[in-house]
Subunit: 377 residues, 2 copies
């Protein structure tokens, strides 16, 4: 990747933006797969820069057999987005740059560019996420506020999703110390709309981040995707109240997958709003009843050095032979198959298989499922 | 010990009763030390039978240097207790006999004779203890009832302490399936007195047990002592609601020390009646929200064979030399000392040291503390 721990030039930032805003590279798709950032990374690794990747993109898409032309973001469109962002006070920031949450940058699927608004310093401080039901009880709201205030006073930045209920209570109680709203849509499409005022208060001493472009109104599937940012940027996630099968439990699962701490506030078995948190504790989450429980658990982690994700992809080959491409596509079908099995069956090098899959992905034909499974619908 | 897995003769039962009702052999003292049953066991192991121990008791007491004559229970007193017990429907039962809870018999400090009233078969079935605050919330009482009923229907006998609050709710909900009240006083000194009716209902299809003699009104220190029976007889202990520093937490600690499962029902951090149970979960107790959580945890244990406690005491020597006795007593003082250290410093065999300590104990001079510590106040 062009730059880690350095600063992008204006031209590089423009190229990066164009590449992630092109079809089948940028944000799209389903929770837990999130191919956009990974595809971006494969392309930049392979071609050495976003600029070269953009130049070669039409070729790759054609070889992947796109059914219709795939849009490549024009320089004009990218410039327009950058200018519009600037007017809103939003800056597009790459991993390693000032204002990109350091822990978020360590994820495999870290957004290549994060749209950041507010005080950037706040995003560099240790964060704790507090999430929970939109439909919270009075006790739950109160306790979210107590936790947020105490953790804020202990020096942590509180991350949450600007939703009604627990999110709102956590943001409100930690505004003075700095809190971060992580958005599922673009910075100009705040959800829920009645939280515009809350956001304005947050931005005075905190920040808001999004990986979506301006004008993007959040859809249902964008929330789980956004939730990986909440957990990924944080040392740990506290779930205050959650019914079974609620969105907060997705955040908790993502946190566990990302190696983040999962904390849950217990409740009476007779209270359905505690069913999700009690269940998390049964599954191994840490029961907490006060901020000090959280501080105690994360203090040892804060001392540990963080590593940015490794550039461990094998280099892609120049261009697979037509016979290789045909054989690999022949092995794919609507039934998902493990990438490892595909490589074994394809009688081709892993690099060749990966290149063909990248072509198919850019052509919008490949479907990636969780756990290294791919299919061709 | 005379009999394990057999039946005592009437004469043996009389001798056992006389021995445990003699000064410094039977129940007395402080929680977690409970020298009575251990002293009884040392004596019977050494002399081969309670009868011989009774005959030799005055000698031992004299050698221990009792400041005043120690009472030995007369045959008349023991016979009177047996007759009075019979009239109340109370039977005195030894470990290994029918009606002695099998898990209780595996404890180091299992009562040599247990006073049992009610349906003896119930005491032989797998038990789960349910305990908690006397001053419980409506939700806590309801949930204790739900758990007790469900576990009862799953085939478990519910053990508890006949107290107000959680105990009462647990007993009431499991009366049909059989429930066991474990008493801190004698069978004729029910506490609290208003639970006489509850006890009568329990006895119709369940049982009550006590290690105290008839006429013994329970004092504060008898409750922790009784709590070890609740946990010891059970596969596991469920704490439903408990404030910090409450009696139920003592039962939980004893359960953990006895290798029994500890289950706790979670509650809101804003509810002080859940502070104790939440704390137990932080310390490693299993969070439960329904009976099936308990069943799942104890099922593997139920299959495991139980072993009655090993007769692992070294035999006592006939009579230590006067010089040994003097040297050992010289090493003892008001500051508690570890038995192991005493043996090392005494320049005498462990058997000699143990015999001298037994003499001192029978003379009412030795104080045993937790963790193998002894002192001579």
């Amino acid at each position: 990747m062009d730059a880690i721990n350095t600063t992008l030039t204006d031209a590089q930032r423009m190229d990066w933006l164009r590449l992630i805003r092109s079809d089948n590279v940028g944000p799209r798709g389903v929770c837990a797969i999130i191919p956009g950032p990974r595809t971006f990374r494969s392309l930049v690794n392979h071609f050495g820069s976003a600029r070269t990747a953009l130049e070669r993109l039409p070729d790759l898409v054609r070889r992947g057999g796109a059914s219709r032309p795939q849009r490549i973001c024009s320089e004009e469109d990218a410039r327009a987005e950058l200018e519009k962002s600037e007017r809103l006070g939003v800056r597009l920031i790459a991993p390693g740059e000032d204002g990109y949450p350091p822990r978020l940058a360590t994820l495999d699927d870290a957004p290549p560019l994060l749209a950041v608004r507010g005080i950037r310093d706040v995003l560099m401080r240790p964060m704790i996420a507090i999430v929970g039901s939109r439909n919270a009880s009075g006790a739950g709201l109160k306790f979210a506020g107590v936790l947020a205030r105490d953790l804020s006073e202990a020096g942590f930045v509180i991350a949450s999703g600007l939703a009604r209920g627990i999110d709102q209570a956590a943001h409100r109680a930690s505004i003075d110390g700095g809190t971060v709203a992580m958005l599922a849509g673009g910075h100009d499409k705040i959800y829920p709309p009645e939280h515009e005022d809350l956001l304005a208060a947050i931005l005075a001493s905190g920040a808001a981040i999004s990986e979506m472009q301006l004008g993007h109104a959040p859809r249902a599937r964008d929330f789980p995707r956004r939730n990986r940012l909440i957990s990924g940027a944080s040392l740990g996630v506290i779930v205050v109240e959650a019914a079974l099968r609620s969105g907060s439990l997705i955040t908790a699962r993502l946190a566990a997958e990302q190696g983040r701490e999962v904390f849950a506030v217990p409740g009476s078995p007779l209270d359905p709003r505690a069913a999700g948190t009690n269940d998390l504790i049964k599954q191994g989450a840490t029961l907490i009843t006060e901020a000090s429980d959280v501080v105690q658990a994360v203090e040892p982690i804060m001392g540990r050095p963080m590593t940015l994700r490794e550039e461990d992809d094998e280099p892609l080959v120049g261009e697979p032979a037509a016979s290789d491409r045909e054989r690999i596509i022949g092995l794919l079908g609507p039934t998902p198959i493990l990438l490892d099995d595909l490589i074994r069956m394809a009688d081709a090098s892993p690099a060749v298989v990966r290149t063909v899959l990248l072509e198919l992905e850019l052509a919008g034909r490949l479907e990636r499922h969780g756990g290294g499974l791919v299919s061709l619908p």
